[in-house]
């Protein structure tokens, strides 16, 4: 009977990548977690639920048990045959795995996309037009006296974000909550909004209008309309005043902005507003990245290909144009003839039509758990949990890099994403060599 308490454990749930967890293990199982949020605790204590225990290959209508070698071989053969394969997922695994994934995409001559495509893809598109005034979370903790959450609900999506990094944190120049102002913009009075000093309830899909109105007010231009997006102009001018007069402002935004009508156009407006504010004071902006390593996926893909997601290797070099080369569009246009999904559940997350097309082509999935996507797959590889059963590098939402810890051994015989991907790549190269 062996007990161990491990300090400074990096959480692998959301983009906060909290690294102050304390985990107690006993006989190679996690028995207790301290300092973690509800989501994190649920993962740390529930990571063994619904585990895939063996590779599976579809025979007829059923997935039947197989071996890694057989599954690797079949997967490599499918990829070798494919004219236009899609490699998708990547935000819930390590940078080491993502690097192999990019090489696999290049070797297959396929498309590789990560979950950015359905979370902060529009943010990337906005940044590529405007740029981004940003910083690490510590800067905000130490300096920010004005904090926005726009279309974001951290109380539910990033439970420790406020206490570790923003309005409820203790910084060098901001000691307490009373030294900060919190403004929340949302269509609903969320649990985050309930904590706000100012809550701005906005009509759905009208974020762009409100953002450009605030920018106009910041510039001191007259707004002819009496209200914008359901917000009276006087109110808008008050907000603008607060922004101009703060010492250090920070605007966090979530999918409320990237998913609403306009998408990248909304981000364009938010980035432009914050850029404008820097001629009057210090202001930064940051997307609330969802998965613990979606930012890592963007970074690895960018240093290897120049582009953060939606990369097209079909012609032997990286091409990029979300809307053309992004997963949902490719599937909606029925342009792919096989797919490898790594650490993601697109069957659940993609809109019905795209998901149905995904289910209709040869589908291979690498995941620790049973998911709707594994249920629809032709080949299923069980894998280990990064940050629990395996180490691996991850990027926090602000680009701070952390090396996760191995806390327990994986279930017997279960391989890591890196091992599985390397095996497929190796097998594919052999098949190619033999022609």
């Amino acid at each position: 009977m062996t007990e161990e308490t491990i300090q400074s454990v990096v959480c692998t749930v959301c983009g906060c990548c909290c690294d102050h967890l304390e985990v107690k293990t006993k006989d190679n199982a996690i028995v207790n977690v301290k300092n973690a949020c509800a989501m994190s605790t649920s993962k740390m204590l529930g990571y063994m639920n619904e585990r895939l225990t063996q590779p599976k290959i579809r025979r007829g209508d059923k997935l039947s048990n197989s071996t890694y070698n057989q599954a690797v071989d079949s997967a490599a053969r499918i990829l070798a045959k494919s004219k236009s394969p899609l490699l998708y997922g990547w935000s819930l695994t390590s940078c080491e795995a993502i690097e192999v994934g990019v090489d696999l995409a290049e070797e297959t001559g396929g498309f590789i996309d990560n979950t950015t495509t359905t979370c902060h893809g529009p943010t990337v598109l906005g940044v590529q037009e405007i740029g981004e005034s940003s910083c690490t979370l510590g800067e905000i903790r130490h300096r920010a006296d004005l904090i926005f959450y726009w279309g974001a609900n951290p109380v539910h999506s990033h439970p420790l974000h406020m206490s570790r990094y923003s309005v409820l944190s203790k910084g060098r120049f901001r000691k307490s909550r009373s030294e900060r102002t919190l403004i929340v913009v949302d269509v609903r009075k969320t649990d985050t909004a309930k904590l706000a000093d100012v809550f701005v309830q906005i009509e759905p899909n009208r974020d762009y209008e409100l953002l450009s109105a605030i920018r106009a007010a910041v510039r001191g231009d007259e707004i002819e309309q009496d209200e914008v997006a359901g917000v009276p102009v006087e109110r808008i001018e008050e907000i603008a005043e607060k922004m101009i007069n703060c010492e250090f402002g920070a605007l966090f935004f979530g999918l409320g902005l990237t998913m609403s009508a306009g998408k990248s156009v909304n981000i364009d407006a938010a980035l432009s507003l914050v850029r404008e504010l820097n001629s009057k004071t210090k202001f930064v902006i940051m997307p609330m990245r969802g998965h613990f390593n979606v930012n890592g996926a963007n970074n690895v893909m960018t240093w290897l290909t120049g582009y953060p997601y939606a990369i097209d290797f079909t012609q032997g070099y990286p091409r990029y144009n979300p809307g053309e080369t992004s997963a949902v569009d490719l599937l909606a246009r029925e342009e792919c003839d096989s797919a490898l999904v790594v650490a993601s559940d697109p069957i659940s997350n993609f809109p019905l039509q795209a998901a149905q097309n995904l289910a209709s082509i040869p589908l291979m999935t690498i995941d620790p758990h049973e998911t709707p996507t594994t249920l629809c797959s032709d080949i299923v590889f069980p894998s280990t949990h990064v940050g629990i059963e395996d180490t691996g590098t991850v990027y926090r939402m602000d680009g701070v890099v952390l090396e996760t810890r191995k806390l327990v051994d994986p279930p017997k015989g279960i391989k890591s994403d890196v091992e599985i991907l390397r095996a497929i790549l190796k097998r594919l190269r052999t098949i190619r060599r033999l022609g």
């Binding site: 400074s8 102050h20 903790r141 240093w303 120049g306 032997g316 070099y317």
Partner: protein, 567 residues
């Protein structure tokens, strides 16, 4: 698989560190090192009629890390115009001014460069820098942690605790696997954290009761205490503002009394950007003569150029305030990335135009510096890639330095007023092959304290470039085009004894070493340090102290360079 033995024969060798200046010599290689002789079975590379130099050493090139990658993300348009399809031996990638990591390694290799240093890594994000360096093939590399705006350091120095500061810096270098002390706009980036701008060397830094001058002097002392192989590597205050050549000279002079006989104690980087005279953009002029004069009179200083190349590029520095200023001036898109407790960064795409007065003057300043500084051992060729232009333009710079004719050709095309105001047209000097070998290899290697790099003496690393140009037959003055072609693509690039590229064909994807220094301080001092910083660390950073240091095992091919500190 390293080739056992290799002989590069009949080449005209330029190995300045060993006082070899164009003699016909054979070079023998075994086990990746230069040796006395090799056996009969050795592979022979016939270099007759060709120029042989040590592998190129780039002391300052932004090739890896969070800032570089943000630049890549910012500029799909930059990649689109310059793609590298995959080949049987190489991975695909993209250029142009911010190439993907593999393309970076391949392109340096093709040019005959084998060692490159990333000069600005935010310590907190250096894990990222190492991930990219590890994804950059063939070349050896290292990185300089940014320490000029670090809270701990400013606090130690403002209370005069230089010894403790040295212990902290030693810990930092070990924790980040860094190579040298980098200082960018000392104090100015901390002020930028509040959106404020710093002017002079003696302006107090709000909340820290210290001045830029004190930071520079303090870290210069620390550098000597720790016996680090390279000098403090300084990007001065006021970069990019008219009249800043004075700041540059003041900065060099601020550590004059700390000079030591052996080697320079301060390196001023991309000095072109801090070599502006005049009081406004309208009367901007070249401060190169004044700076060169100071450098010629003072042996405690070295500089690198940061030469401007006309065309489109991506500017990126840790100098947040300067980048914001450049965004306002150009109207181009702008990315800013401040880093808690330590530093910042900014990125702005920029096009240098011949017809633009300011850009033309900048182009002149770089070349004037190179030509007016007499001692080639203290001036190194860089474009501050990608800030002045992409590193792939080095052949152009070489041609300008070696051929007055090449300079005149460009001068005839630049802004007329700029041409009138520059001394460049009247400068006769032309670099020799030996001097080029010095400023691109021998001198930077020596400045970095890399004993086995930058020369071809016995025991040196067998990093060699063979260029298809015959100094005995070509007059550089008359044939700039020949120079550009020769230095663009080495006939052979040899890395640790292995032919890694031949006439632009990359042999395969191998990975070089990453150098980092470890200066060992007394155990008791280190213990006291940890006792002191551990609680502070929790207050300052948003990550746990345990998660901060980078283990040697995190690096692909780490190469530790130990040095003995005096404390």
């Amino acid at each position: 698989m390293m080739e056992k033995e290799l002989a590069v024969v009949n080449g005209l060798v330029f190995d300045p560190l060993n006082r070899i200046d164009g003699e016909k010599l054979d070079i023998f290689i075994r086990g990746g090192k230069i040796v006395e002789s090799v056996g009969k079975k050795a592979r022979i590379i016939n270099a007759s009629g060709k120029t042989v130099m040590p592998g190129g050493v780039d002391i300052h090139s932004h090739i890896a890390g969070s800032k570089v990658n943000s630049g890549r993300l910012l500029r799909p348009e930059d990649h689109r115009k310059d793609v590298e399809p995959r080949t049987r031996h190489t991975y695909s990638g993209v250029g142009y001014s911010i190439p993907s990591t593999r393309t970076t390694g391949y392109r340096y290799t093709k040019m005959g460069y084998t060692t490159v240093f990333e000069p600005a890594t935010p310590p907190l994000k250096t894990r990222h820098t190492h991930e990219e360096l590890d994804a950059t093939p063939i070349i050896d590399k290292g990185c300089f942690p940014l320490l000029g705006n670090n809270w701990f350091i400013m606090e130690y120095l403002s209370s005069g605790r230089v010894k403790e500061c040295a212990a902290y810096v030693a810990w930092m270098l070990k924790a980040t696997k860094g190579y040298a002390i980098k200082i960018v706009d000392p104090g100015g980036v901390e002020l930028w954290g509040w959106g404020k701008f710093l002017k002079g060397l003696d302006d107090p830094i709000a909340n820290f009761n210290i001045t830029p001058r004190e930071i520079i002097r303090g870290l210069c002392k620390v550098n000597k205490i720790l016996n680090l192989p390279h000098a403090i590597h300084v990007h001065t205050n006021n970069l990019g503002s008219p009249g800043n050549y004075r700041t540059t000279i003041e900065t060099m002079d601020a550590v004059r009394d700390l000079a030591d006989e052996k080697k320079p104690v301060i390196h001023i980087t991309h000095v072109q950007f801090t070599g502006f005279s005049g009081s406004s953009w309208l009367n901007l002029g070249s401060g190169a003569p004044e700076i060169a004069d100071y450098v010629n009179k003072h042996s405690h200083v070295s500089v690198d150029l940061g030469q401007v190349i006309f065309g489109d590029t991506t500017t990126m520095t840790a100098d947040g305030p300067f980048q914001y200023f450049l965004h306002k001036m150009s109207g181009n898109k702008w990315t800013n990335g401040d880093v808690e407790v330590e530093t910042g960064s900014g990125i702005v795409p920029f096009r240098y135009r011949r017809s633009n007065y300011v850009n033309a003057v900048q182009w002149g300043i770089g070349l004037e510096l190179a030509l007016l500084v007499k001692d080639p051992w203290r001036v190194f060729m860089t474009t501050d890639h990608p800030n002045g232009g992409p590193f792939t333009s080095y052949p152009k710079v070489i041609a300008w330095l070696m051929s007055k004719k090449a300079r005149e050709k460009t001068l005839s095309k630049i802004n007329k007023t700029a041409k009138k105001r520059l001394d460049l047209p009247s400068i006769e000097r032309e670099y020799t092959f030996g001097e080029i070998s010095t400023i691109t290899r021998a001198a930077p290697a020596e400045s970095l304290g890399l004993k086995n790099k930058g020369h071809l003496g016995l025991g040196a690393d067998a990093d060699i470039a063979v260029y298809d140009i015959d100094p005995s037959r070509t007059d550089p003055e008359q044939s700039p085009r020949v120079l550009r072609r020769a230095f663009k693509e080495a006939s052979y690039t040899i890395k640790t004894g292995k032919v890694v590229s031949k006439e632009g064909q990359i042999a395969g994807t191998s990975y070089g070493e990453t150098f980092y220094v470890e200066s060992i301080v007394s155990p008791s001092l280190e213990a006291d340090l940890l006792k002191e910083i551990t609680p502070k660390f929790k207050d300052y950073y948003t990550i746990e102290m345990d998660n901060y240091p980078i283990a040697e095992s995190f690096l692909k091919n780490p190469s530790r360079i130990p040095c003995k500190s005096e404390v």
